[in-house]
């Protein structure tokens, strides 16, 4: 016999806000990991974009926010490994995150 906790339905405003705040704070770590400041400008622009996103109780918007957080995690792994050589994949991931932010804006309007 297994007692399962009843799943909370839907996404709350607080869940999405935590996700966005964590993502924005993680960008600080990325800037610190970027020792040669090759991506500093783009990362600062990314952090600004993330800080001004408003949390929503929409599941689709929350899914995108989670994907953004995952991409930031991937960036952390690459910046942690990479030496002084500029990595093309870092640029691609940052561009992908900006695209996802635009997609999020489109979902918000729906």
């Amino acid at each position: 016999m297994c007692f399962k906790k009843k799943k909370r339905l839907g996404v709350t405003y607080i869940d999405d806000r935590k996700c966005l705040l964590l993502a924005a704070q993680s960008v600080d770590v990325l800037i610190a990991l970027d020792k040669d400041e090759l991506y500093k400008d783009r990362l600062l622009a990314l952090q600004d974009s993330l800080l001004y996103l408003s949390p929503r109780e929409n599941q689709e918007v929350f899914d995108i926010d989670q994907k953004i957080a995952e991409k930031i995690g991937d960036l952390k792994l690459i910046l942690n490994k990479s030496d002084d050589i500029k990595d093309e994949s870092i640029d691609k991931i940052i561009t992908t995150i900006f695209v996802m932010i635009k997609e999020r804006d489109a979902k918000e309007l729906k």
Partner: protein, 189 residues
């Protein structure tokens, strides 16, 4: 009998990523330490060659032995961290795989694949519609053929009916060289 949630379900991807980053940094530090000790040992070995005093040499040997032991410990530490790193990477991949499968399973069109009976009915219906439309086309083709077969060519328009037309045709089949056009007209008169 389970009362508590599986502890791996409570792990977030963020935590695993942070663990991997931390392990990579530690592994890199261990590697740097090993390289530094190796360089130190090499330098001391070269130094030993230049020494003449046996007591100094013995002292240097002890120092080198100590450095070698330190290096061995650092290598073992780095190997242990690497092993942890490997398992953490696999855990991250497992989390990603689970998230992907969950995401795809929630897509409407993919969710519908579960109902095999409805899928079979739908495909059957699509196939029957296709066969029906193909039959309409082939029937139309048969109708065309049937109507066209009823028609016979009017020989007065498309055939040779007049006497002089027969003689002209016979002339075409003659082996003599071609005469002038005026000669041909006289003959036909």
């Amino acid at each position: 009998m389970c009362f508590f949630k599986n502890k791996f379900e409570t792990l977030t991807r963020e935590e695993v990523v942070d663990t991997i980053c931390m392990l990579e940094r530690d592994e890199s530090l261990c590697e740097d330490r090993v390289n530094a000790l190796t360089e130190d040992i090499k330098a001391k070995l070269m130094e030993g060659k230049t020494l003449d005093n046996p007591l100094q040499r013995t002292f240097l040997v002890k120092k080198i032995t100590l450095l070698q032991e330190k290096r061995e410990r650092a290598i073992r530490q780095a190997m242990y961290i690497l092993y942890n790193l490997r398992l953490s990477e696999r855990l991250k991949d497992a989390i990603d795989d689970k998230a992907l499968v969950k995401k795809l399973a929630s897509i409407r069109s993919i969710k519908y694949f579960k109902d095999q009976r409805a899928l079979a009915l739908f495909l059957n219906d699509a196939l029957n519609t296709k066969i029906k439309e193909e039959d309409v086309l082939t029937d139309a083709d048969d109708t065309f053929k049937a109507i066209e077969e009823m028609y016979s060519e009017n020989l007065k328009i498309y055939g040779i009916s007049e006497l002089n037309e027969d003689s002209i045709l016979a002339f075409f089949e003659d082996e003599d060289p071609k005469p002038k056009v005026s000669e041909m007209n006289e003959e036909t008169k």
